[in-house]
Symmetry: C2
Subunit: 278 residues, 2 copies
């Protein structure tokens, strides 16, 4: 792991790293914000998973999250959204498949299977690397994300029992097996067997008996993708049916942009910081 | 003036407008953040002037300023950095001249003179438009900015006696008549008569007897442009010589980026909000 950039912000350091990923078989780039507190000891970590088309840069530039991470004494880890590079398959005419659209699954189909192992990357390889190389408390981690990354955060927390102290999501794709974005990526990465898709679908994981962890979700009512792609009502129904703990906050008038994330990221980080202290 | 976008953020509204500018003789785009308080009455305004290459989008996306504006009950006005359009002259091979680099002066030279009247635009036309069309308190305004925009903020406050309640700047170009960026733009826009340049140079305006207004400046010590372009030491010397009130804070380890601005914009907006209340 090589540090390629370091920018001072809110008294801490916003660093960018590159490493050779074993899961994705390519050079991966990610950013980490280390709060001032990390200079004198280890801190807990919040992982942020970004949405379609994003790199590690969107969150660090647009959300204003580093202010809260500085105040709360937590590190923020911001990975890329897919493997990258000239040797990595892509669907260059599409924003919602291939590079920038890894969907946080382990692909099983050609031509994606060799590199698109983003589930293993974000849930296993990256945390192990971070805990080995940076001043963070091993195992003391939470996860959140936006849109495709909100989906990623939810499935990581629902599949990896006990791995995360807390989970939250901004406008997540709650039921990817029934929406256009999810169907497009799942059919490409996972093939035509829809049974296999359910292992990466928050609503289906709740239905199938995932261990309980409280889910905190903020969703704007003016989100342009709410009707077609996100389906929080499906996740809410699945949670209601089995008494699974969900706090779904419909935020009046907010859209799908980083301005929505900026508005509520402070509350989410306070929520995670509390879980990470306990 | 036509509203072309409206995004909810921190309970208020981040709006984008277009209008036909009389000063710049083209369609100009700007953004305004209106805090929740503006729904029930008029609020004071802070003008933000951006740096080279920026549009109205950089500040609204990258600085996290809307959070503070929401809490403090102040509007933020974010203009573009130059006239724009196919009919507007440009130096397309250069980032530091022409479109995106108006330098907040009134050009007197061909081919710039017809459109590049950014000083009049930001100090006269835009405030008059804002006060006529939006829920702001007439005349209750402050100004700040970054780099070329920090220069712009300083010269507006030093030239327009009594027009601004307060002024501050992030890594401003303090002595443009002696730095490469300033010499490039001033010679193009204002011609070879260096006397004429001094009317747009903060250090020279202080030397020439500008009316007192306290200047608040934050400057990162790791700013990559500090040695060659910014010259805060020249402004500090001019202020010292006549007892002009300057608070120049050298911020250890910070660079020239929006991460630096994000770190200190809250303190600047609190400073302006206090002056705007008095």
């Amino acid at each position: 792991m090589k540090q390629i950039e370091s920018i001072k912000e809110f008294g801490g350091w916003l660093n960018r790293y590159q490493h050779e990923s074993a899961s994705c078989r390519c050079t991966m780039t990610f950013s980490v914000y280390l709060p001032p507190k990390a200079e004198n000891g280890k801190v807990p970590v919040v992982y942020w998973l970004s949405g379609l088309t994003c790199t590690d840069d969107n969150m660090r530039t647009k959300a204003g999250a580093q202010r809260y991470a500085s105040e709360l004494g937590i590190a923020l880890v911001m990975p890329d959204t897919s493997p990258r590079g000239d040797n990595v398959p892509d669907a260059s005419e599409r924003y919602d498949l291939g590079q920038g659209a890894g969907f946080y699954v382990n692909a099983t189909q050609e031509p994606w299977v060799r590199h698109f192992q983003m589930y293993d990357y974000v849930s296993q390889e990256l945390p192990a690397l971070i805990e080995a190389e940076l001043p963070v408390i091993a195992g003391r981690k939470s996860i959140t994300g936006h849109s495709m990354g909100g989906h990623g955060a939810l499935i990581c927390a629902l599949r990896e029992e006990g791995a995360y102290r807390s989970v939250s999501a901004f406008a997540p794709i709650c039921h990817p097996t029934v929406c256009g974005w999810g169907e497009g990526c799942f059919s490409a990465y996972l093939g035509t067997d829809r049974e296999a898709w359910q292992a990466y679908d928050a609503t289906e994981l709740v239905k199938a008996g995932a261990a309980e962890i409280p889910l905190l979700i903020d969703q704007g009512t003016s989100d342009e993708f709410l009707g077609d792609q996100l389906y929080p009502q499906d996740l809410a129904a699945a949670c209601r049916r089995r008494g699974f703990p969900l706090t779904l906050r419909m935020q009046e008038g907010y859209d799908h942009s980083y301005h929505f994330i900026a508005t509520f990221i402070g509350e989410h980080l306070v929520y995670h910081a509390k879980a990470l202290r306990e």
